[in-house]
Amino acid sequence: MAIDGPTIAEVLRQQGISRRGFLKFCATTASLMALPPSMVPAIAAALQHARRPSVIWLSFQECTGCTESLTRSHSPSIEGLILEQISLDYHHTLQAASGTAAEAAREAAMRENAGKYLLVVDGSIPLGNAGFSTIAGISNLDMLKETAAGAAAVIAVGTCAAYGGIPAAQPNPTGAVPVSAIIKDKPVLNVPGCPPIPVVITGVLAHFLTFGSLPELDALGRPKAFYGESIHDRCYRRPFYDQGKFAETFDDEGARKGWCLFKLGCKGPVTYNACATTKWNQGVSFPIQSGHGCIGCSEPGFWDAGPFYKALSMPIGPAKAAIGAAAVAGLAAGAAVALRNRSAKKSAQAAHQKVTIDDLEKSK
């Protein structure tokens, strides 16, 4: 909890880590934050002054998948090292304390690090009824507002916290909203994904840890370094898309040859995330490499954005039924117009007065 304690460089040094080891740490941190290697000196310089931040982690309407993702990040590792550098003062899944003691820890952290601590949230917040989700008798909404008040910044981890996620899927029975719908007076950084890539979570923490600020964000509040490009653009199967080679089913020749999964519903073109480069499980693979299309889990509204296995260009509404209904309406309206036209023409024919040579000029 020692916000005013030694800097991170000092901590590492105390642990007997050499300058060379420190530089290695900086290099791996840069890679983790998706920053170019040329940023290493800047990171090194920043870490000379960076101090361990206090972190409070709140979990609302969520499935703990985000926490699972984070803890499954191959610790001990650079992420582990980063986590050692933060002071995780409250996380009701991970902490040993429970009940009143846990809440006391949160309150203490808030008090001691007022204005400086980092608030991490996973899960969405129900606005429908405060009783839908509570912790220690406090509604999610109240706890979020109270805890966010003294935070330096809020990091919304996971698609639920970032955009509402599955709880907000139609018909959204709990009235779930994302953090950004409630917290308007603090910087809110979104780390969407269902779950987010663990190194992206730690990468963002590393950035805050290193530079004491949030990284550059896009219009949806996501760090550009990780969400700047679409899966499709960074996908190693992209050349197949360009060549028009597609897997038609999950077990055909194309699928075996690793052709593009667009026709099988891959949402890579409209999904902005780092899966294709950072990958999962220590960089082993990512869904497309494993033969399944991207489902777009890090995009707002992905849960209602149409079936996972329909190509992106396919209609997702009741198009066929609509055309059918319109055709019936068209036939009916057409028949009505046709009858009207026929009768109009018939009456014109009935009104025809035989033209004689006396009718070729207007009467003067």
Binding site: R19, G21, K24, Y236, R256, Q289
Partner: protein
């Protein structure tokens, strides 16, 4: 490296452009002494890409290990000046991989702060020994 049945070009489509980039980096190194570091983790690599790249670069004369916060291997490839730097943690898991185009990779050199520490430490040690002899 997961094995994939494909031998289509797109599975290793990124190796060639990367090799080209390395070639340009060598030119820059010769011309101005500018070093280049490429983070392999930041590139979209197909399943065969990395193997392809490493096979193309080959093995060179230097193979060093740095033991600082876990073992890091610094290996010169068959092309002088092109180094493959792999950082591992204490349990041997790979944390980051870089291609470094330099006369000597930064990390292989002793760091000024560490040298200063060492000078101090050696002086300390000498003083103690002299004290013992006295």
């Amino acid at each position: 490296m997961p094995s994939t049945p494909a031998d289509d070009e797109a599975w290793r489509g990124n190796a060639l452009p990367l090799l080209n980039e390395i070639r340009h980096a060598l030119d820059r190194l010769l011309a101005s002494g500018e070093t280049t570091v490429i983070d392999l983790g930041a590139l979209p690599m197909g399943p065969q890409d990395e193997a392809e790249l490493l096979a193309a670069l080959g093995t060179g004369e230097v193979d060093a290990t740095i033991n600082a916060g876990g073992p890091s291997s610094v290996r010169e490839t068959a092309f002088h000046g092109v180094w493959l730097v792999t950082h591992r943690n204490e349990t041997g898991e790979t944390q980051a991989r870089f291609i470094e185009v330099a006369f000597v990779p930064e990390l292989l050199m002793s760091q000024r702060e560490d040298v200063a520490d060492s000078a101090k430490a050696l002086s300390e040690q000498l003083r103690e020994e002299q004290n013992i002899r006295k």
